[in-house]
């Protein structure tokens, strides 16, 4: 399982390429496959933010 750790809140200009890595990691996931891997259970109804 992938995991990326970043330090945020630094002053403007301390940019971090890791955000790009996170976006690539997240977008490369096949969400339907993930869901089926979870035993086909429909995602439990999470409360909306």
């Amino acid at each position: 399982r992938s995991r990326i750790l970043i330090s945020i809140g630094e002053s403007f200009g301390v940019s971090d390429e890791k955000f790009q890595k996170i976006n690539e990691m997240v977008s490369s996931t096949d969400w339907s496959l993930k869901r089926s891997l979870d035993g086909g259970s429909a995602p439990k109804p999470l409360k909306r933010l």
Binding site: I8, E10, F12, S15, F19, V26, P43, P45, L46
Partner: protein, 152 residues
Amino acid sequence: AQECQNLEVERQRRLERIKQKQSQLQELILQQIAFKNLVQRNRQREQQTKRPPPANSVIHLPFIIVNTSKKTVIDCSISNDKFEYLFNFDSMFEIHDDIEVLKRMGMACGLEVGKCSAEDLKTARSLVPKALEPYVTEMAQGPINNVYMTTG
């Protein structure tokens, strides 16, 4: 021959370090231009409206944004002191930092992708110190590839 070999290795190492430092300088120049453009735009707007915008309608730097589809369900847990947050997303999202947002707002005059109009290039050059102007001109066409031994 051995000394030539050592110098060749040294030469290669320096070339790689120079390449890395050129892209670091490029990013710093982009950030300086983007930030100055943002400040200029906000200053002009405040002069037009003759007052600063309502406090709850502005987002000060530094910040990051997470954007996701409206269909995404986000489960959020927050500690009482707001020192800790936990978000669970059931669908994909994107994370961007403030400099990326400013670039997307066009505050870097398109220099980040080497597509900068003559007008924008003039604006961008006016926002940096003299010593950086040749770099900005080069960035208008693509990544920095030279080192200008200008003084100042």
